[in-house]
């Protein structure tokens, strides 16, 4: 939970917006005026056409020395500014990704690969490597491409990709066999079979993704674009037919004025910011070191209502810890603690260490040096299923219940029935009992417990409020699983999970209409990762897992799934809030422009001028200026996303509606009035 927060910011050089990025974005904003790029955003494309049209009228006024020149010029300028602001919002959102992409590109430097041709080593440039080539990588070499370790073991520095400086072990076979091109071998050597052609490697894809080069509109974005286009056409009709009505009413409305009205009415605010919102959503994931393979995945994350969480590492700390000593009848607790401690001194497993710590904390037994005691350590073996020490004639053993029972019997003793009861009690509570015996006497039981991470229970409660169900996946037996599930507060669990059971569980949920998210790393997770609506593969995992999922977590931190869902939700919320805001804005703009349009013919309509704008010209100009400025004013919100809180839909709706819906109605009235005051004071119109 908390531990991954600290990762943020230290990894990617894309943290905040700097002035160089702004300059770059302004340049891009102009480049994007190119109609062949512009048409991808239909709303703003219409604005561009209208801007061209009003520019024509400015030129005409120039040639004919018309009185309207000053006013028409201002309208044209502000229409162009509207388009450029919208382009700027997209460019600035892309900017962060670009900065990171160029950093990544540097790591993809030209390396020479040691290609194995039989036993011979041939030096070839990395881009010449093809799938199924085998290369040798030794200490100090950069791994030339994505691949699978087929021989050897090495420590690898993957910081170029993950930003994590601690080296990781890569070895042949198993789930730690995949290596990424651009990472560096620090020690030893490995033979790597290349699994991706140049241009298709993980690093290439990552560059593409962060650059947004392959960015496609997501399903919801497409639907929203259609709606916005429809609204644009409707307002185009409303404005275009105004001229005939005006002619009927004995007046003519100047085209630049109609252009101004049109641009004010069509949903330019959301139209201008839509793409920036989408890019910023992926960017927020990237800042948390999660790579989404598509925007679609981010959107799906917002819809997820079932989270499959691996117990180990996500819900529990990963290792069992000793939490209690339960002595046998007649045995002082200190004696049990002492024996447990001595038997664990040489035990370097986390469980062993936790026993030593518990003994120290509870019974104040200081740690002793096992070598000074002259003890012999009996390591754990699969045959005996126990470990222990022999010390000055004492034989202390600890291990599984039946193993110790057998040992005690062989020593001629018998286990007290109370010990058996304690063992059963612990098992029922989901813990692991470890029996300690000295010679023929069973001293008692150590309660080893899976420790649930702090704060996770509250987190799950929040998720439940948001309508997301949490399911714990574990290899434990149902009894243990149930106990931990209850303690952690998950809604459901899958015990003794196999890859097949996991896949079946996902399908079951999906058939009921749920959208499922999960994390995985092993090759056997691949089918489930592919089946899940959101599959987050751990970067430490196998190539197969990474291929199957639609996101990769570079930190390999399964807890992050929760954040991924939150980012998805925040993205959709931002989009919805700004759409609502944009549409609500229209009310005020009508009240600014309609009375101004027909002021000459029907002075009676001034009653609709409820903002008391100074003149018809200043009213129209104020509306256009407001419309342009609101885009740039909302860029930070589009990039940051609306405030996210883990609450139920109804509360979120009420909050956002009050803020963006009502705000959208009121803000333009105030904004337009203020701009009107300023421009009449300046004498612009």
């Amino acid at each position: 939970m908390q531990e991954n927060v600290s990762h943020e910011g230290k990894k990617n050089p894309s943290g905040s917006i700097n002035s160089a990025m702004i300059v770059e974005a302004i340049k891009d904003a102009f480049k994007k005026l190119n109609p062949s790029i512009m048409w991808r955003n239909p709303v703003m494309f219409v604005v561009e056409i209208v801007a061209v049209l009003s520019t024509y009228f400015v030129l005409r006024d120039l040639l004919t020395h018309a009185k309207t020149l000053g006013f028409n010029t201002q309208i044209a300028i502000w229409l162009w500014i509207t388009v450029i602001f919208a382009n700027f919002s997209e460019a600035i959102a892309e900017g962060r990704g670009k900065a990171q992409a160029s950093a990544l590109r540097k790591t993809r430097s030209e390396t020479l690969a040691k290609k194995l041709d039989g036993e011979k080593i041939v030096n070839v440039p990395a881009p010449d490597l093809r799938k199924d080539d085998v290369v040798l990588v030794e200490a100090g070499d950069v791994i030339p491409g994505d691949g699978e370790v087929i021989e050897g073991i090495a420590s690898v520095d993957e910081s170029a990709v993950t930003g994590e400086s601690a080296p990781v072990i890569r070895e042949s076979g198993g789930d730690r066999s995949s290596v990424t091109g651009g990472t560096k071998v620090l020690s030893d050597w490995i033979k790597v079979k290349i699994t991706a052609n140049p241009g298709e490697t993980f690093l290439d894809r990552m560059i593409h993704l962060v650059e947004g080069a392959k960015r496609q509109k997501t399903p919801n974005e497409i639907a929203l674009t259609i709606l916005l286009l429809g609204l644009t056409i409707i307002f185009l009709l409303a404005v275009a037919t105004l001229e005939p009505y005006a002619i009927y009413s004995g007046t003519i409305v100047a085209v630049p004025v109609l252009a101004a009205l049109l641009v004010c009415l069509i949903p330019t605010t959301i139209g201008g910011l839509l793409s920036a919102i989408g890019i910023a959503g992926m960017d927020r994931l990237l800042k948390r070191n999660v790579l989404a393979m598509s925007g679609r995945a981010v959107e799906a994350a917002g819809d997820v209502n079932v989270l499959l969480l691996d117990k180990t590492g996500t819900i529990t700390l990963g290792n069992r810890m000793a939490t209690e000593f339960i002595p046998a009848p007649g045995v002082p607790a200190e004696k049990l603690a002492d024996a447990a401690q001595i038997s664990s001194l040489a035990d370097e497993t986390p469980e062993g260490r936790s026993i030593v710590i518990l003994a120290k904390e509870k019974y104040n037994l200081r740690e002793r040096d096992i070598n000074n005691l002259g003890a012999t350590f009996i390591p754990f073996s699969a045959q005996t299923r126990m470990s222990g020490v022999n010390l000055e004639g004492r034989e202390i053993r600890k291990g599984a219940t039946d193993a110790i029972e057998k040992y005690v019997r062989e020593q001629g003793g018998i286990m007290h029935p109370d010990v058996i009861t304690a063992v059963e009690d612990i098992a029922k509570k989901g813990g692991t009992p470890l029996v300690v015996a000295e010679g023929a006497q069973a001293l008692g039981v150590i309660h080893l417990k899976d420790v649930v991470k702090g704060g996770i229970r509250e987190r799950f409660a929040q998720l439940r409020k948001m309508g997301i169900k949490t399911v714990m996946i574990t290899g434990d037996n149902p009894l243990t699983a149930a106990a931990i599930a209850a303690e952690a507060g998950v809604d459901d669990f899958l015990a003794e999970a196999t890859p097949e059971a996991k896949l079946k569980l996902i399908r079951d949920y999906q058939n009921k209409g749920h959208l499922v998210a999960m994390t995985g790393d092993g090759t056997n997770d691949a089918p489930a990762l592919a089946q899940a609506d959101v599959g987050v593969a751990m970067n430490s995992g196998t190539q197969a897992a990474k291929e199957a999922g639609n996101m990769v977590d570079l930190d390999s931190n399964p807890t992050k799934l929760i954040e991924v869902v939150e980012i998805g939700k925040q993205l959709l919320m931002t989009r919805g809030s700004l759409t609502t805001f944009s549409i609500a804005n229209d009310v005020a703009k009508y009240f600014a422009i309609i009375p101004a349009l027909f002021f000459a013919t029907y002075p009676q309509l001034k009653i609709l001028n409820i903002m008391h704008l100074a003149t018809p010209q200043s009213a129209i100009l104020s509306a256009v200026i407001f419309n342009a400025l609101i885009i740039v004013a909302l860029v930070p919100l589009a990039l940051r996303g609306v405030k996210y809180e883990p609450l139920g839909a109804n509360i979120i709706l009420r909050k956002n509606l009050l803020f963006y819906g009502l705000g959208g109605l009121i803000v333009p009235f105030i904004g337009i009035k203020i701009i009107d005051l300023i421009i009449s004071a300046l004498g612009w119109a």
Partner: protein, 565 residues
């Protein structure tokens, strides 16, 4: 503002609701194929129809075949009606010996009746034979209303069914909506109306001498039978030109009340049908309540404007209500305002007062309701499917704010649905705005106008709005029986009908395939007051704002001029 008026309006609403709930429940059973108490009566007849027509009632189809059947059926109806009018001279039941109807008028009338619009560019009693009125118009009064019902039933199935592919059988739905719903209601309605004095005969017209010695022809005919379905089917095409102001169509305050009740009964019942069919009555209730509240707002506005009247008339020293010109004195202000609001809330278009004579704002309310797409109860079926389009838009726009892909009844709203919904809201804008714009700047358009200035624009706007929204009520004042208006309005009528029905069925086809996400705390709720308010807000903002400029230049400015601002 008299207490009696308010009591009467409230009484109307209470009785309407009281009758709509059970009727809605009954229709849900009819269209779910469940047993109803009327089965013994209609089931044998239904079986006979299927046997004769070779319909397999077990086979259901996808949306495309459903829409195909609907189009073929309506096209045939159109052709029959068109030729009946052209050939009425040679056909029986024509005691007045009316000649052939002109082709452009025949086109307009056929389009108008097939689409449940019942825009009448002619005077019924002086143009159409009894055969055309009965075999042509009255038949269409039934089947066009039935068409509206089957579309909303198909859409409801599309929303209710999960991971399915079919949305019903058009022929079965059509048959059942006529046999189980429209026919029995009309028979009961006609009997009550006849009892109240609405005429029902095949006589030739009566020639009378009035008390002061003048000659008068009194048109006769089978009125009561057409009157009931005219109201129940929200058709609105009167037997007489004067429609429900005519004493033979609407003789007493009781018939006036009943006729108003008949108009909104089925449209008000359908939301309850919807709620039951999607398995959550609350979903239907919220739509009903939203419609009701919008309706009350509009009635209130129209009533206030009429009561406020015309200060210019008051200035002349005339006492009493100042806006009585063009209204039946038998009904008075409240009943006229209520009737006008009801008839345009539904796509009925029957009138008991001349809308041209309403005060500017009083006349704007009917126009506004039609511009909204008649979703305030609306036409039979058409009102609810129009409202469901707005529901989908509301869910899509506002639903995103809760952080999930918008879903309605658990089903995701994606680009297909939005594309179709967008087309459906584009159609009224296209027909009304382009049609009126064309008429307001062409000679053919403006030469039909009675009044100049903003009121003339209102007349044009009203005509295209009434046609595009399939209402059929006339503002009067405008002489619409010209080739230009007959053809332009005929096209607007057809577009306004099928341009919405097809996208609606397409949405049904898209939604029926989807899985439904179970409801949870993360679900955007589509029940409750907040959703109702949002729905009303989206209806107003998306629809009304489109027409705001046009309205500002017509009724709004006229009102401002009238009050001398």
């Amino acid at each position: 503002m008299s207490t009696m008026d308010i009591v009467q309006i409230l009484l109307y609403v209470v009785i309407l609701t009281f009758l709509a709930v059970p009727l809605g429940r009954y229709m849900a059973r009819v269209f779910s194929g469940e047993k109803t108490w009327t089965d013994p009566l209609f089931r044998p007849l239904e079986r006979l129809i299927y046997r004769l027509t070779g319909t397999d009632e077990q086979t259901e189809t996808g949306w495309k075949q459903y829409a195909g059947a609907l189009l073929i059926f309506n096209f045939c109806g159109f052709i029959v009606l068109f030729f009946l009018q052209l050939l009425q001279k040679y056909l029986p039941l024509n005691p007045q010996g009316f000649g052939a109807v002109s082709p452009d008028l025949a086109f307009n009338t056929a389009a108008s009746f097939v689409t449940n619009t019942n825009w009448q560019a002619y005077a019924g009693e002086s143009t159409m034979s009894y055969l055309v009125q009965m075999a042509g118009l009255t038949v269409q009064n039934f089947v066009s209303a039935a068409t509206g019902i089957v579309v909303v039933v198909a859409l409801t199935r599309g929303l209710a069914r999960k991971s399915a592919s079919t949305i019903g059988n058009f022929w079965v739905d059509l048959t059942r909506s006529i046999l189980w719903v429209l026919l029995p209601l009309s028979i009961i309605g006609a009997l009550v109306l006849t009892q109240q004095g609405v005429i029902q005969n095949f006589s030739t017209y009566l020639h009378l001498t009035t008390l002061d010695g003048g000659k008068q022809t009194l048109a006769m005919g089978p009125v009561a039978s057409q009157e009931a379905i005219k109201m129940f089917g929200t058709n609105g095409g009167g037997f007489f030109n004067a429609n429900s102001t005519h004493p033979f169509e609407n003789p007493t305050p009781i018939t006036n009340f009943l006729e108003m009740l008949f108009i909104l009964l089925i449209p008000a019942a359908l939301p309850f049908t919807f709620g039951r069919m999607v398995g959550n009555p609350k979903q239907g209730r919220v739509i009903f309540v939203t419609m009701l509240i919008l309706f009350l707002i509009f009635v209130g506005a129209a009533y206030s404007s009429e009561i406020y009247g015309n200060p210019n008339v008051t200035a002349l020293g005339i006492s009493g209500p100042s806006a009585m010109e063009g209204k039946e004195v038998r009904f008075g202000i409240a009943n006229s305002a209520l009737f006008a609001t009801i008839t345009t809330a539904a796509s009925c278009g029957a009138v008991n007062a001349m809308h041209d004579s309403l005060t500017p704002l009083g006349g704007m309310i009917p126009m506004l309701q039609m511009m909204l797409g008649e979703v305030v109860f609306g036409g039979v079926g058409a009102g609810l499917y129009g409202m469901l389009i707005f529901v989908i838009l509301t869910v899509f726009i506002v639903g995103l704010m809760v952080g999930r892909t918008p879903e309605y009844l658990g089903k995701k709203i994606e680009s297909w649905e939005i594309k179709m919904a967008t087309i459906a809201i584009l159609v009224p804008a296209v027909t009304i705005l382009i049609g009126s714009a064309l008429a307001s700047v062409t000679k053919a358009g403006t030469s039909s106008i009675l009044n100049s200035g903003p009121h003339g624009l209102s007349e044009i706007l009203y005509a295209f709005t009434s046609a595009g929204a399939n209402n059929g009520s006339a503002f009067a004042g405008l002489n619409a029986n010209t080739p230009f208006y007959n053809i332009a309005l005929g096209i607007a009528i057809l577009l306004g009908r099928f341009g919405i029905i097809l996208p609606v069925l397409a949405i049904a086809g898209g939604m029926v395939k989807k899985k439904a996400v179970p409801e949870g705390p993360g679900t955007f709720q589509t029940t409750g007051i907040l959703f109702g308010a949002l729905l009303a807000g989206i209806v107003i903002i998306v629809s009304a704002l489109t027409f705001f400029p046009a309205l500002a230049l017509g009724p709004i400015v006229e009102h401002l001029i009238m009050i001398g601002k």
